[in-house]
Symmetry: C2
Subunit: 406 residues, 2 copies
């Protein structure tokens, strides 16, 4: 059993890095606050006797030796970055539970056959730089390191510049450090476990993701003197697209979601009809055929709306992540651990993307979920109980011990 109070203590200690007045965390990837939590994590790893490596995209790895150093370690962990108005658990729980596991094994003097490597992946959130889970995607070869290094945030700062500015561009080539398998603990970020009174979600699948960059070019004109029928209003166009995305997703019941998360009017003024808007779209399903339908229906809706309103709409797919089917043996291992520890559990699909989804494409991977209050995440009010967090950390540890061998 891990030390529940110690785990809880680290979660709340690190929540000070980027703490917001509403009790959340604003710790955008590679920001000054991210550097603070990274420095804390590096020190904690070193104190726990781990050998820390940082790769060329800033992902951090803390290696605990095993008896058999000829085999790659079992990877465990998550991320420490957050959304602009994020919570204290999303990613953090999984990273600090991995640290807590190491501390527990150290205290108990437990050696494992295989080494264990605890991980903090760079830019899981995808809020500052696109795509999400950027570093683990490069790790598995979906993108080259150079491609990712050149990605820019809204201010035009590249990943390379951001890494250098906080001193976290490491020496280790991305993907060089291999793992035997990977396990990640995370809050569910959805309402199912709480609603069903289950403690552990045994994650067997994850939704695929479509991300688009959109741009609407209408025509700026005077809000007072331009007759309604002559307008080419970019915001009214966006409004139709937002509602179209909503109804396209709803058609698939619980099997799809669609969201416009960002929308910026180019030169906004109270008395000017918006002429240009940049926006982003996020839509998802665990079913690849539904993802195709979402893409097709969204594009068709956009074309119809643009033609009718005589505006131009550009819609570029910037990221497509296929649905994830986690490794069946690893999923069983998670389920066995939950079962043996006596926690109530159920199989579950992840609505969110996770680094484990990327890693699963090149190695066996699996995930453990614990409930979060009202299913709320990507919100400063995100919450989870100490008991559930500890339960998740115990399932994580026992899964890892089963994989690493004692």
């Amino acid at each position: 059993q891990i030390d529940s109070a110690r785990l809880w203590g680290t979660i709340h200690e690190t929540a000070q890095f980027g703490a917001t007045p509403k009790g959340g965390v604003r710790r955008l990837t590679l920001s000054a606050e991210d550097k603070q939590v990274r420095d804390w994590f590096r020190k904690a790893c070193e104190s726990a006797g781990l050998e820390v490596q940082v790769d060329a995209l800033g992902s951090m790895f803390g290696l605990r030796k095993g008896r058999d150093m000829s085999k790659p370690p079992i990877g465990v962990g998550s991320h420490l970055d957050t959304q602009p108005t994020g919570g204290k658990y999303d990613g953090i729980l999984g990273t600090l539970a991995a640290l807590e596991m190491v501390r527990t094994l150290n205290d108990a003097g437990i050696e494992t056959e295989l080494p264990i490597c605890i991980c903090n992946w760079t830019n899981e959130e995808g809020s500052r730089f696109a795509p999400a889970m950027m570093a683990s995607a490069a790790y598995v070869g979906d993108f080259t390191t150079d491609d990712i290094l050149s990605r820019k945030d809204a201010e035009g700062v590249t990943v390379a510049q951001a890494l250098d500015s906080i001193g976290y561009r490491g020496d280790a080539p991305v993907g060089r450090l291999k793992f035997t398998s990977f396990v990640e603990l995370h809050i569910e970020q959805g309402p199912i476990l709480e609603a069903e009174g289950k403690t552990i979600g045994v994650v067997d699948s994850g939704q695929g993701v479509l991300w688009y960059d959109g741009k609407i070019t209408g025509f700026e004109s005077h809000a007072g003197s331009t007759p309604m029928p002559l307008r080419r209003d970019a915001l009214a166009t966006l409004s139709e697209i937002v509602l179209a995305m909503e109804s396209i997703a709803r058609k698939h019941g619980p099997k799809a979601v669609g969201t416009i998360g960002e929308a910026v009017i180019a030169a906004p003024s109270r008395n000017v009809i918006p002429g240009e808007i940049a926006f982003t779209v996020d839509c998802r399903s665990a079913d690849a055929a539904i993802m195709d339908a979402l893409d097709r229906d969204l594009r068709a809706a956009v074309i119809e709306i643009a033609a009718r309103r005589k505006v131009e709409v550009q819609l570029d797919l910037v990221w497509r992540k296929a649905p994830t089917h986690f490794d069946p043996k690893l999923v069983d291992a998670v389920e066995n651990a939950a079962q043996q520890l006596g926690y109530s559990h159920r199989r579950i699909t992840s609505g969110a993307g996770h680094d484990a989804c990327n890693l699963n494409t090149v190695m066996p991977a699996a995930m453990v979920f614990v409930p979060c209050k009202d299913g709320i995440s990507h919100n400063e009010l995100e919450d989870a109980t100490q008991t559930d967090c500890a339960a998740g950390a115990n399932v994580l540890m026992h899964t890892v011990l089963a994989l690493a061998g004692v």
Copy 2:
């Protein structure tokens, strides 16, 4: 007849202050660019022998003596500020035509019975500070000077600070300098004159204006893991409000317009359902009963949408300007001038607000319109011909001469 080439020259000379790559002007009120054009205007007035006064809200007045200095002058002018992506004519034509008139009278050695005062009113556009036509509204007593001085732009800078920063907080108390009447030349900013092939619009009325500040409070949540039916999406809510405003205005045919010009998501992120949005509404009609209907229908729509989507929507009326009915005698004077000069003309309603609309509440006022290309305004592509600008300036001058007496 005014000097058409000289007028055209000053329009293009001053267009360099805040010139944009697309051929427009960005000269927000009380900005560094506004200071440049103000300095230019002050010097031009002084060179033309005018006595320049600046009032406590930065409005500039250039006085040309008349034979009878016991009577208040005839006011003539407009504004030199622009929208963020504005044109070269909106306001500028009217101000520089007033200057051109003085130059023409000087050159011809024409004295008038009454003095003439040419004006550059502060913040006509209303883009940086609300409301529009702020300084002329204070001039007529709709707001106190202190109230206006404390208004803030989006960055929190007050009118007082902005005036001080460019050195244009003048000594003259607002409203002290009285006028006998006021005439303003402006581009139409709408498509009617051009469509009908008329050179001069004799403006007999102006639309009333309703401006609102709105705020939507939904709930931020994860774009991937939050089921569609559980969302409280602030952007989807705004989208319904935008489309509702559009159809509410359309119900009144050509007699009403409605626009959402600004919308800002509080902490935007691709994979976060927008939780909070600030927005503005501008809706107008020349008919007071329709203005009441717009207000009532918009509020009812907002209440219905907010309740159905379980979000909070705050909608505050920040400005209400009643429809304008210009002084019949002055309107006739404009029409006579157009007639005598042989320009084709028609009576017209102003879709936009103008300083003359405010001044009309305390003195006889009227306006002259000239066509602009495709009715486009509040756009960098705003355009007008030299011939039409000169025609408008001639009508302006002859109207003023009729009022001031030669």
